[in-house]
Every structure is written in C-alpha cells, then in structure tokens.
Amino acid sequence: MSSTAILGNTEEKIQEVTSVTVRFAGDSGDGMQLTGTQFTNTAALLGNDISTLPDFPAEIRAPQGSLPGVSGFQVNFSSMDIRTPGDEPDVLVAMNPAALKVNLPDLHEGGILIVNENEFIKSNLDKAGYASNPLTDGSLKGYRLISIPITDLTYNALTEIEMTKRNKERCKNFFALGIVFALFDRPLEPTYQWIDQKFGAKPEVAEANRRTLKAGFDYADTTEIFTTHYRVRKASLPPGKYRKITGNEATALGFVAAAELTGRPLFYGSYPITPASDILHELSRLKNFGIKSFQAEDEIAAMGAAIGAAFAGHIGLTGTSGPGVCLKSEAIGLAVMTELPVVIINVQRGGPSTGLPTKTEQADLLQALYGRNGECPVAVVAPSSPSDCFNMAVEAVRLAATFMTPVFYLSDGYIANGAEPWKIPQLSELPAMKQVLRQDPTGFLPYERDEQTLSRPWAVPGTPGLEHRIGGLEKQHRAGNVSYDPANHDFMVRLRAEKIARIANYIPDLSVEGDPEGDLLLLGWGGTYGAIATATEELRRQGYRVSNAHLRYLNPFPRNLGDVLKRFKRVAVAELNLGQLNLLIRSAFLVDTVSINKVAGKPFKISELIARCKALL
C-alpha cells in the first residue's frame, strides 16, 4: 500500500514512511529491469519487506522510443508485511516520453515524477504521440515533477573515461538509480558489489557504472532537488534467514529439493517458452545435483521424454506455458493411462493462442483439469506467491510420486517474475517422501493397487523379474494387459477418478483468514493471493465481516472446502479469467457464488478488489 505521508508537504529533511512503491520505466533497451532489480536487492538487504512486478514487452527490442517498447519494473518496499507490488507507484522514473505516456496514468496524484529531460525532444515526443512537451505545457502540474538532464549528466560524469559515447549513454540508468537511492537514503555498497562481480573482467565498464551511480546519488543529494528524503525501516518479518526470490527461481529450487526428498533423480524436459524458460535455465546449470535437463525439439518431445524418464525411475518434470500444454495434452493422457509420476509446470500467460506472452493470466485452470480426451483426471496444485512456488513444487512431486500420477503445477507470469523475501527453510522442515521402487518379483502385477492410495507399483526397467508392458490402451485391472472388456473399462475409469479423489485425504484443509464465518468470503487461487489477502485485511480493518481463503490445491479440493463456503452469506471467487474456478465451485457445491474477474494481462489491484467487495456488502 502506498504511504500517503510521502505525498504531503513536510518541512522535515528526513521523514519516515512505512511503504513506498517505485516504478522504473524506460525503453526496453534502457536497462529498467536491471535498475529495478538492483533497487530491490538493496531494499531486501536492508531488511525491508519487498514485492516486485516486472512488466516488459514480448518484443526483445521494439522500435526505440515507441509505446510498445516501454519496459517497467515496479517495487513495493516496506517496514510492514506486504504481499503485493503496490497498486499505484508513489514515485515514477520515466526515462523517455513513451515511458511517461504509458505509466503516468498509474502514478498517484501528487506523486514524485523523475524524468530524463534530454529525451524529451521533438522526435521522441512524436513517437509517444505528444503534441506538446508535457514537461513545459503544464499538464504535469498535479505531480511533483523533477526534470533532470540525465543523459548529459551521465556524459559529464564520464568525461575522463575512455569509452564510446554509445557505451557511456548506456550507463544512464545507473544515474537514475543513484537519484532514487538518494531519495530514500539508501547505501550504494550492495550495487557497487554487484557491479564489480558483473563487470570484473571489464574494469572500465565497472568504473563507468560506479561513477555514474555515485554521480546520480551526489547530484540528488547536493542539488537539493528533493526537499525531503524518505526512510523506510526494516520490516518485522518472522525471525530467520532470508533471501530474495522470484517464483521461477523458487520453482526450480523446489523441484530440486523435492527430488532429493524422494531419493529419485530429477529429469527436466522442456522447450523454451515465455515465461517458463528461466526454470529451464536454472535447472540446466544445476548439473552438480545430478539433474538431467533436456531441451527437446518441441513441447511434445519434452513431455514424452519426461514420461520415459519417469518409466525408468526418475521424477519426470516438464515446464511450459499454456500453448505448450495444448501440445502436451495427448502425452499427458498417456501418463494418466500408464500412471507414471510426472509433473507439468504451466507458467500461465495471457491467452488464447499466442496471446500475451509476457503478461499474466489464470485462464488455464479448466485446461489443466479437463483439456484431454476421455475421462482423464490429474491432480492440480497452484502456488500462491513467488516464495510459495517452493512449497508447492515439493507438494507436486510428493503427490505425483505417492499416487503415481501426473500433477499439474499452475504458476503464472506474475509470480514467476515477481520477487519477494523468502524465509529459507531448514531441510528438517520439509516433508518426508522417500520413494521405494518395486524390487520383489513375487506376485508382481503392474496394475496392482495400494489399498490406501490406489497407486500402482513403480517398477522400472532394469529390475529382474518385473518385465511388463504398458501403454495407452485400456488396461486390465491388476494384470495390466490390454483389455477391451466393457466392465473393466468402466471399472478402470472410476478407479482412476477415485485415485485422484483420494488425494484429498493427503493434503491440508483450507484455512480461512479472518473470521470463519461472516458476510463475505473472498475465495481465490494461485498468484492472486497477495492482492486478495491485503484487500480483505483492509476491509476487516474498516469493520466489514469479510474473510478470505486461498486454494493451493485445485484438484482435488481440500476436504473442508464445502464447510468453509457454507459459513458465509456470500461467496465471491476472484480470479484472472472469466470465472473458471467459479464454475467449478458452483458445480461442485451448488453455491450461488459471485465471480470477480479481470483479464487485462495484469494482476488485481488491491483497490479494485476492495471496491468490488464493497459493492457486494
């Protein structure tokens, strides 16, 4: 949440505030993601709670200075517990007219607006569609406009450095970063350290970046462009060791940890796709953990290879986004029929078709549940935040291996690229989930069932006496031979459904935040947790009887879900699609729910949810 204190005028030189949201915006070649990340890292190291929202175009380099080429990075940092990157920035850094045009509508009334005035020339104004220069035509008078010739000052700072003009100009993002560090009274050391690590081999580049950063800081400090500087104290997070983590990083770590816990090697088959590729990059460099990563020729091959690896005794993992899941669907059905432990990561993005590759959405839920031919049940889990990606990755593997089933893991672009502090778990806190392969040939039948879980034995090639054949044709109960018997097919279809249903006995109950009963329950799933929890907390603070609950297990649902729903006068289901969970809830529980949805490629704002809830109360 934004702090209103930062917006008011004050006489004090240094003022304490609880939360601030800053957005860095510029051309996609301006290094805004890097600038935002460096600011975030420093905030995290200073002990603030943080939450970030990178927002970049799908084009690697859209035409320079154009509106589609604008790249932004928003960070919310706070001395309080925060769960979202903030609705509206308090501070906007706009490196060119296009960045201003795209981002100004989000800036708080009275917010601080830092612009690089060197870029506000006729040609750039034209590209952004400005008829007149907003820096001089008075249209920005509602904001605290700080116009700085950032490019010129960057050149000045680097007069003694031997470098091309183009390379000098590329340092200007660090001048802007220095300015914002000064505004919030932040140290430069963490960024210096990063510069030295990154450019160690190119001392002149390292020196140029150090000088520019320092120059920006000193400029803001000595010219008194800011009458007030702001300080955000440490957050009182639960004790422990922390690191900053994005959802994709946490996903990769979670699967590495999960495989170790099962005692089985991890195989990752994937085909590059936005926004899931970072998981492939991360797992590819962890070969010292014995992870076998395989960049397949296509999505189908990635899924097929994961199935083959699972048949041979590995944890079979594949990762993609929605369009890739379409291609994998037939093979997922094969994994259901052959009952092998595979996990399918879907980092959801805007659809349908190629849709919005770099923007977030939650519209693949029904695809995960039903997007295959035949009665083809799979387990579905969804992490609720960047750090929760770690937990749910472990859970996905636990369910896949315990029940010998494919499991869908539904992340999304928002939590995949967003970052927050992560309390690093102790290994002893992680669940015990050691998997034992079948060895004993006595009485072995490939489709024999465990009485509790209904899972079949994991019997892998290379084991003497367990030779057997599996495949996509219907299986005879227990024996596993091909069977066209009508009664057997009916039995097996129900058995596969029952196996997934029984997972409900092995997952935690749904917990309710706020009172267990009341006027309104706001139900959500996956990456929308931060906005939903913050919105309902604010509503409760305002005296409303509103609670929230968040589903991280989507198939099967937690056993107590029906009871939770019954205790509220109204239930609203908030999701970034046209009501997919809502449809499931209504059909499963016959509850007259209300759907709160948004499909704009962006996460919910807290204020939006508050307004939508109030309209229901």
């Binding site: 004790p239 922390y242 690191r243 900053k244 699972a310 041979a312 690093i424 090639p461 495949g471």
Partner: protein, 347 residues
Amino acid sequence: MTEPLKIAGASETPLNLQRTDFISDQEVRWCPGCGDYSILFQVQSVLPKLNIPRENLVFVSGIGCSSRFPYYMNTYGFHTIHGRAPTIATGIKVANPDLSVWIITGDGDGLSIGGNHFIHVLRRNLDVNVLLFNNRIYGLTKGQYSPTSEFGKKTKSSPMGSIERPINPLCLAIASEATFVARSIDVDTKHLAATIERAARHKGVSFIEIYQNCNIFNDGAYKPISDKEVRAENMLYLEHGKPMIFGKDRNKGIRLNGIKPEVVTIGENGVTEGDLLVHDESAADPTLAYLLTQMDFPNFPVPMGVFRNVFKPTFEELTAQQIEAAMAHGKGSLEKLLNSGDTWVVE
C-alpha cells in the same frame, strides 16, 4: 574401431538365452501372412546372441500395426502414442543408459506424424535401435496412402491417385546425421537377422528401414524386387570394402560416371571389376551413402544392407559426462543451494 564396443545392458557372463525366452504370453494379433511376423521372429532370434538379460531390454513403439510389437516381447515395453516413441525412448535412455532401448515404428508413425522426432533422435545419436517397418500404406486405419506410398497410388483416401511424392527414409536418416543406416526386407530372413544384429551392436543410433509386406492393404508392394526369381537382378547387397556387384550371373555392377552411379556389365565395353564402385560404409563423408539412397527400382537394383556406419559420441554419454564434470568437486549441497545468493538474517 577394432574392439567391439560393449552393447548397452549386455551381461559379462553368458546367459544362454533362447529365442523362446523373449516370447511374451500375449497372443500375436497381426493378420495372418503379415510381414511383421518375420521381423518379430528375427528380433527374438537375434537377442540371445547379444547376451542382454530380459530386464535390460525396453521396446518402445508408437501407434500402428508395427507398434503392437512390444506386447509380444517378454521384456519391458512401452506402447506409446502416435509418432512419439522416440521422445519416450529418449527419456528412458537418458535416465538409464545401461538399458538396451529399441524403437519400433512404421512409415506413418515414424515419417508422418512423428517425422520431427525421427529427425531429432537420429541427429542426437542416442544409442537406440530404430526399426522402421515400411509397408507404404496405412494398415491399422485400413488402407490410406502413407508418406512412402508411390506417386499416383490409388487408395481409399486417394481414389484418383496420390498426388504426393514419397519420402525416402534412408535419405532423411543420412541427412539427419544418423551414425548407422541400413535397409533390409521381411522375406530375406537371413539378411534381416544379420542386419538387426549389426544394428544392435552399433554404439549410437542405428536405423533400419525394413521393407515389409502388408498382405491386406498393399500386397505385393515389394514383389517386383523381392520375388525369388528376380531378387538377384533387382537387389544389390552392399558389403563393406567390396565392389558393388549384382545379377543372377554376378556380372552386373555399379560404376560412377561423374557424380552419378550407372549400371554396367562386366566384360562389356571393356568394363572390369576394377571399374566398379567399392562400398565404404564407414566413410566419414556421407556422399556415397546418399548416392546409394537415390538408387531405386526399376532404373537401379535396390541396395540392401548397411549404407553408413560411423562412430560419434552418444547423447546419453555426453549428458552423463557433463553431469560427471559438474560433480567433479562433489555433489551439490541442497542446504548450500537454498542459502545461496544475497541473504540476510532477521533476528
């Protein structure tokens, strides 16, 4: 290479396996007279010679008549989905390089719906054996033209004749840098068995196109070349290091004219055996192998045997080597990994 390389999954001690050890309890359900029976029999006959215990063998197939094959083998087996056998086999082989993995596919499964995976499994040089049963027809769906059906072929789905030119599987295999490429035929059981054995002993990917007769939907497709009476005239058996000679009287041969092969008769127009092209299956350059793939009936005898046989590191070896190198200083510590990067402590 002089030393025979160890076959993946083979035992060091003699197992004394018999053909019957590889017959599963499932009733074989191909049409009576189908060429698949012969291929199944030859594979089951060759396996005892390889000394691979049954538990180390995995037969992986896609969809089609040929893809029922794994059910009839008393080994591990995976009857997967249409065209995708190479992908599942890749996962199996990378997970456990000590298995002997066989891919059973057909002209539709391997070259049409699975064409992409076919190329990639070959270029990666995964140490698996790919047997492609080519009957030039879709049998399981009851008689549509396939990607290897001849131009103009009349089928249920091409009543006025197919307007597609057929794909050449061996040419595609060579273009995909397969390290072992061969052709054989269901009715020449001795040659088929010998070719399967050589493929199995090859370290790296091995590909055999097996001409196979579908006596229901495309009967006699290979009759003009494979009938006992004409076989010697219309087939050329390739032998490494030997001149390319064929014919009932062993007096015909293949000579290179410029960059084109031509059929000549020894003793006519001064042609001697010394003028003939000598087969070199292990040539580093694939040009000769490619030339041979272009020789087809009726202008040429159809070459049978090993077209290409070269050695390159296998995909699963390279995968394992990278992991080994990364682990040279010990296996990664999960605790260290979780605690890596910039961390801070909240008291």
